[in-house]
């Protein structure tokens, strides 16, 4: 006997629960929207511009967050945040602040490009060395406001283009009847992942954008498995009730949907746990996206198709008058 997570012949009425599913998703999206309205998007330095410096003090240097804040207070730096990184014994701190790199009002003769007198990072470095002790700069990230705005704009464009191209591809491969459902599922996945991100107060940066784009690509994998089967079943039994076809298709592909998500999730979890600080936001967003994507291909993609068919598809669809939908709902 082979190992099976879903017994063959399982018949769960997924479509019948469409109201609960849609309500759940709407609640999540609205919560996210409320989060954005009240607290706003937390943009990381990639999009908002700003500076992040990770410093590691040499052994024997007595230092804590408060000492660093005091030193920063003496510099022309607004609202810096200082976070200890890792263990106390590591003496590592992440210093973050917003704003321009150049210290305004300092004119250097000969138009000095970057100098300890007019550059915030170099000034910070000099102050930390002078007043606390020797340290290494592990990482410096500075994004100017201009570059930040560009990255923000390009990021939005990339998401929009990805959505559009996928709409076109699915439309081309599955006929226009299926494409909107797939894209609804896809937008749903991105919105919910983003909502969860907002609700947990996490920062959006390039890594999260990369994850959202990867989710756009990946969320369709599961949906396509289901839709392929729906198409196949429709061809086989055109006389059948659409609700039945949908439920049957989702059940038939359920083990596949879950298994592909499990393998992808396993890899993503390895990244999340072992991949290190840099990939963590990416891995976390991917993990959420994979879960939401699996949920949507079971609970959202089918009902959307059903709704579209009953609403617009009387002439092209195989069957399913509106009253049938009512009967199961």
């Amino acid at each position: 006997m082979p190992v099976q997570i879903i017994k063959p012949g399982t018949r769960i009425d997924f479509i019948g629960k469409w109201k609960i599913a849609v309500a759940l998703s709407l609640v999540m999206i609205v919560a996210g929207a409320v989060g954005v309205a009240t607290r706003g998007f937390r943009l990381g330095i990639d999009f908002a511009g700003g500076t992040e410096v990770l410093v590691r003090f040499h052994e024997g240097v007595q230092v804590d967050e408060e000492v660093i804040r005091t030193v920063l207070g003496g510099l022309d730096i607004e609202n810096p945040s200082v976070i200890r990184y890792g263990e106390v014994a590591d003496r590592e701190f992440l210093i973050k602040f917003k704003g321009e790199r150049r210290i305004e009002g300092v004119e250097l003769q000969g138009d000095g490009a970057v100098d300890v007198r007019n550059d915030r990072i170099l000034a910070l470095d000099a102050a930390l060395s002078g007043e606390i002790g020797p340290h290494d700069r592990q990482r410096v990230e500075f994004v100017g406001p201009k570059v930040g705005a560009e990255l923000r704009e390009d990021g939005m464009k990339a998401m929009a283009i990805a959505g559009l191209l996928i709409l076109l591809y699915v439309g081309f491969r599955f006929s226009t009847r299926f494409a909107p459902g797939a894209v609804v599922a896809l937008i749903h996945d991105v919105l919910i992942t983003a909502s969860i991100w907002v609700l947990f107060g996490l920062e959006f940066d390039l890594r999260v954008l990369a994850a959202l784009l990867a989710i756009i690509g990946y969320s369709l994998n599961d949906t396509i498995i289901v839709y392929d089967r729906i198409r196949e079943n429709m061809e086989l039994r055109t006389k059948h009730d659409l609700v039945d076809v949908l439920n049957r298709s989702i059940n038939q592909t359920l083990s596949r949907t879950l298994l592909t998500s499990i393998t992808t999730m396993a890899a993503v979890l390895c990244l999340l746990i072992l991949g290190g600080e840099v990939v963590r936001p990416f891995a976390l967003a991917m993990a959420i996206g994979v879960m939401v994507g699996t949920y949507s291909s079971v609970y959202i993609a089918g009902p959307t198709l059903l709704w579209l068919e009953t609403r617009f598809g009387e002439t092209t669809g195989p069957a399913t008058p509106a009253k049938k939908q009512k009967a199961t709902a």
Binding site: L108, G110, R256
Partner: protein, 524 residues
């Protein structure tokens, strides 16, 4: 094609790419040396090996105001030539404003100004002219600023003394310069110093600025200013000098600059020599100011202020407690000439080598763990078929590494994430096939027919799923910068190879066993 040929072909393919892939991770010197290693290789991104990624742009506002200043001076000269007096000529906002004292002068200017300049001239009131730069002029200013900045930076980096191998400096877009320096965690002086050298005769000096200012209770003398000398290490102020605003001579007239070492005082210094004109000016200056201190300023900061002992015409020295590196950098900067406009840092991402090494090891751990978990899961769930999927997965990884190596791709931290993600997604294709085969078996088909039907029916599902992911990966590649591009690359390559691995390699393994033999039960 018969099975043996296909098998040979696929094995050959995988071995070739495996050789390219694994060999590609050896260091470059070793690769070029050893005959059994490929010349091509995987390059590690700056976030893995440590280094500086910096986007800078010449400060165009300054370049434009320099241009307006030139225009203003030109107008003054023209007015003087034509004998029009009493005109106020000022640079206001982004324009030059001329205000003649009366309507008669205004008419003369109106008649002439078209010959004086090609720029846009507006006349908001009868006695006011506002000259703004045309779009073409602005573009020209921008292009010149870019060309000059690039040239100076290139000259500095190409200087044989610089010693930064593999650094990249290229134009990015219309007004940006991309600088990448592997293996460094601090921006070297040659990229951040303007290199504006000035010599000024010292009028007064004190240990602090406050003391110096106290010396002049009625304010500093006309045309003079305070400049400071710092300790190079602690950045504490050593001396404050009162100097004339206008330099007596600048680095413009330098002919050469070389690193030197003063064995008596045990310190590094820079020897320089003047061109003919510089020699004349410097000779006159030093002759007239014997026994006075001469301040040597770099970018407005006093480096040293030696007392002039005698007339010097051809050459001189700059001292200032330099380390050997600092004096080398300064010599390079002086040789290459000063940057005509200040540079603005638009973006900087610098990773220390230690952090890069950490990323390599955590990336490796995540990859190996991901691989193990998936192999255990697949073999546990699908038995022999899961083993096939694992073989295909290993082959897949070799193919990815090989392709990366062949095209000299850059591996970044997000790139490793893409690789781990690919490991997870690659077996998806196998899952789709295996589930389909199980379904066909349940429907009562014979083993061989079930395998065949499984592959047949899963093919398009697999292609559709992967093509959509490929679309987003390609968009990400177009959009992304640096490390994110690395993610797009490994993801796209991974998608292509995993489709091949699932549809070709797994299929081939089934043809080996069970193959044509009739088996009662398939291990799936």
């Amino acid at each position: 094609m018969n099975l043996r040929w296909r098998l040979g072909l696929v094995i050959g393919f995988v071995v070739l790419f495996g050789w390219l892939g694994i060999g590609g991770f050896f260091p470059e010197e070793q690769r070029l040396e050893a005959w059994w290693l490929p010349d091509e290789g995987v390059r590690l991104g700056l976030d893995l090996r440590g280094g500086i990624h910096m986007v800078i742009s010449p400060d165009l506002d300054v370049a434009l105001s320099q241009e307006l200043e030139t225009l203003r001076k030109d107008f003054e000269a023209r007015l003087e030539d034509d004998g029009i007096t009493g005109v106020s000529v000022l640079v206001v906002d982004e324009s030059v404003r001329l205000r003649p004292s009366g309507p008669a002068d205004a008419e003369r200017i109106a008649a002439e100004i078209g010959d004086w300049t090609f720029e846009d001239v507006a006349r908001p009131t009868d006695t006011e002219f506002v000259v703004t730069l045309t779009a073409d002029s602005r573009a020209l200013v921008r292009d010149n600023a870019m060309a000059q900045a690039l040239e100076v930076l290139r000259r500095r980096i190409d200087d044989p003394q610089t010693g930064i191998p593999e650094s990249v400096i290229t134009k990015q877009g219309q007004d940006r310069i991309l600088i990448q320096i592997p293996g460094m965690d601090r921006v070297p002086d040659i990229f951040r110093t303007t290199g504006y050298l000035e010599f000024k005769i010292v009028q007064a000096s004190q240990p602090t600025e406050a003391l110096l200012r106290a010396q002049f209770p009625d304010g500093l003398p006309e045309g003079s200013e305070v400049a400071l000398q710092y300790d190079r290490e602690t950045r504490r102020i050593l001396n404050a000098f009162l100097l004339p605003k206008q330099p007596d001579i600048t680095g413009e007239h330098l002919a050469d600059a070389r690193v030197g070492f003063d064995t008596q005082r045990n310190e590094w210094l820079v020897n320089f020599s003047w061109d003919a004109e510089g020699g004349r000016i410097f000779g006159d200056l030093t002759q007239a100011n014997v026994q006075k201190p001469l301040a040597i300023l770099l970018d407005g900061e006093v480096h040293s202020a030696p007392v002039i002992q005698t007339r010097i015409s051809r050459s001189g020295q700059i001292t200032g407690n330099f380390t050997s590196q600092e004096s080398t950098d300064l010599a390079i900067i002086l040789r290459a000439g000063a940057l005509p406009i200040p540079l603005k840092i638009e973006e900087e991402r610098t990773i220390g080598p230690a952090l890069g090494a950490d990323s390599v090891s955590s990336g490796l751990q995540a990859s190996v763990a991901g691989l193990l978990v998936i192999v255990v899961f697949m073999v546990g769930y699908y038995r022999l078929s899961g083993g096939y999927a694992s073989v295909a997965l290993f082959a897949n990884l070799l193919l990815i590494a090989g392709l990366m190596s062949l095209f000299e791709g850059t591996l970044t931290v997000p790139g490793i994430a893409g690789l781990v993600l690919t490991v997870g997604m690659a077996v998806d294709a196998n899952v789709i096939i295996f589930e389909r085969i199980r379904e066909e078996l349940r429907a009562g088909r014979a083993t061989r027919a079930a395998i065949s039907a499984g592959f047949e029916k899963a093919r398009w599902t697999i292609l559709d799923a992967n093509i959509t992911t490929l679309i987003t990966a390609v968009i990400l590649f177009n959009y992304g910068t640096g490390p994110i591009k690395g993610f797009a690359v490994t993801l796209s390559v991974g998608i292509l190879t995993s489709v091949f691995a699932a549809l070709v390699i797994t299929r081939l393994l089934y043809e080996l066993k069970p193959g044509n033999r009739a088996v009662a039960e398939l291990s799936i």
